[in-house]
Amino acid sequence: MGFMTLFILTGAVAVAAALGLLFARNAVYAALFLVLNMFALAVLYLALGAPFIAMVQITVYAGAIMVLFLFVIMLLGAEQLKEDGGPIAWQRPLALLLGLALLGELAYFVFAAATGQTRLLPPPEDFGTPHAVGQTLFQQYLLPFEVTSVLLLVAMVGAIVLVMNGKRAAQAQAEPEAEGS
């Protein structure tokens, strides 16, 4: 099985999973479709000589992040929201139209406008290995890397603060009611 076959198969799976996300009634299904999509992408990453990114994709994205999504969906019981157009149903056809337009533009760009298309050569020996990625990450990109850690910390603190404040607000709402009864 050549790379092209692999590409077509996994690409089809990815597109199908994406469409599943678009049309699934149940949010849990949507999330699972997204996981599938990510697995498919991970395979493509492997094919593109990025084993490290592929692993991170599976562990962090498909693993950690999506689990968090599922957790929140179930926590809030939000999986069964009625999915009709709602008060602005008129924008759905418009959205579809725009989506097709964008796709058209991009296709034009990729296949017609962009020049210098090359067939990919086999990559160097250690391309994309964790070792090579680590070398680059900790030398050339050290400062952004460190900044990312600050970003994550801030995000964590922010998430906690938001949830806690909300809790307090909810309690404050609940208390007068309790007194009244």
């Binding site: 602005i88 924008q91 964008l102 533009e105």
Partner: protein, 722 residues
Amino acid sequence: MFFDIVAHAGGGPTFFHLAPLVVFVPLLGATLNFLFGRRIGERGVATIAVAAAGTAFVVSVLQWLSLRVHPEGATQLVVDWITIGDFQVRWAQLIDTLSVTMMLVVSGVGTLIHIYATAYMHYDVRYKEDPRRYARFFGFFNLFIAMMMILVTGNSYLTLFVGWEGVGLCSFLLIGFWYEFDILGRPSTANARAAKKAFVVNRVGDFGFLLAIFTLFWYFGTVEFHGVFEKVHEVAAAHPQVLLAVTLFLLLGVTGKSAQIPLFVWLPDAMAGPTPVSALIHAATMVTAGVYLITRSAEIYMAVPQAQAAVALVGGLTALVAASMAVAQYDIKKVLAYSTISQLGFMVAAVGMGAFVAGMFHLVTHAFFKALLFLGSGSVIIALERAHHPLPDDPEAQALAARHGHGHHDDHGHDHDHGHAPFDPQDMRNMGGLLRRIPVTSWTYIIGALALAGLPPLAGFWSKDEILLEAKHLQPTVYALLAAAAFLTAFYVTRQLVLVFLGQPRSEAAAHAIESPKAMTGVLVTLAVLAALGGFMNAPGVHAFGHWLEHTLPEVETLPFDLTVAGISTGLALLSMFIAWSLYKGVRAWSQWQHDPLQKVLGPGLFGFLQRAWYWDEAYLAVFVRGYDALAAFLAHTVDWDFWHDWFHETIVAGTYQRLSRFLARPVDLGVVDRLANELAGAVKGLALVLRGLQTGYVRNYALSVFLGVVVMLGYLLWVAR
């Protein structure tokens, strides 16, 4: 770096390397007393201070011993101070016979006065009701010794100037020591103003000194003594007027520090300081710095005869004028103050004429007898004060008060005095008959006074005689001035002795005056011995002092002893003393003050003129002080504030701007710009109403519009890049 020896005198051990100690040990003493003085008690403070001054004396003696073996002296580098381009000043100590003479006087007399002050200040701080200031006094005192040592050991005009200003500072601090009182201990700013006056007047002199230094540097290329002296002849040939300028600028400095005409006015006011201060700073050492400066600059002065004449004339005039002022004073210390000015005039005249040895000799003997006189007057003052107002912790005075039944003085103390005229323990009209009450003080005082009057064989006779002798040969005019001054000197000395020590006590306090403690009288006796015998070091035939200074000074010629000169001056002195005696002998019988006999002779106008110091202060006040005040106030309030700050700024700068902007606002802005703006605003408002409809609040609508934007922009880009 510090303390390392630049020049070793060849052969044998010397003590020159110890020289920096004369500065640093007193400085250390001062620091210790400033920092810890309040905690270690009076005894601790006194020990530190006296030990510091004593160490300086010991080191000075060691320098003297070293110089006896190596009379060529040495230069001790202390620190490399300023180096800019070709301007280099090292702070180095010049150890030669001249500077060591000054060191010995400063530290020797200084140590004695320190000892005296330990007892004197004990009473003073209690009478002024602030015993905690005892430590501060000795801190300043030690600081003064350090500064004076910097002055006399400096090897360049600049280092000398550093000490010169430093002693000025100490003088300021010590004159204003009781800054919250006047001279009688009443709350006032008088003492503080006296201190400020001293500093400012000295600054006028320093201004001259600074200009002299600048001139020296630019024409001689250095400010170090030896470097300058080497080039004197070269410069004298090339720019004679430069040397004249330097010497006259220096003279201005000298008139400031050594209280000569026209800048002597600060010294009488400086008596506001405690009496040991007057003795050490304003009689024995600091005020003689000017004499030292001219002696040090002998090489320059010798090259400029006009300058020598000017200096001698200033000195001679000062000697006479100040002596005339002294005859009409009532304050025991004021008499001595004017006398000091007068004697400084003698010294300045001497060094001005080129009689450097005579001038320095008089400086030394004057340090002995004038210090003695000031300390004696301090002893008298304290004696009266103790009798007038016994302190609770003064058993001697308390016992005496009880015996004579006027112990009531200690119930009302000083506060009571503020009502009517306070008792003035310095006023000679309140004295009389003290010879019997305080014999040690009295006899030592009389020895000092006679030395001042110039009676043989006391120290003052020899030194004054030498000056008169030189003057007769070199400058006859100055000789006449000085002889007249000597005549007046003998007069005011006699007047003072009669008023203070003889006859009947003219006040309660004088009747019960108490002899001072041993620390004070011991010092008085020591100084009396020096004042009596000190003259023999340069007496005719001995000339040890002259030979000593020969190693440093350019030309030392000793004139042979002239019996006529000596006879004339002694005769004049005796005559004057006789006149004074016959005028004042009536006073002896008085028990209350009546009119001054001299006033009857001279008339109240002339007497008042002399007493008010020729109205010199008043003239300066009217011309310089008021003038400066008025000019400064005019500049500050009228020119700078009202005109420049307010009128110019507000009316011209801000006003013009406002008129301009108002013009732009009314016709231009309202007529054209504003209308345009209004119509534009209307249009915007209409548009806003339309656009408002777009704000549905649905997030997805907004997302859609973003998406639309993306599609359109991408399309446009592709269209362009086609």
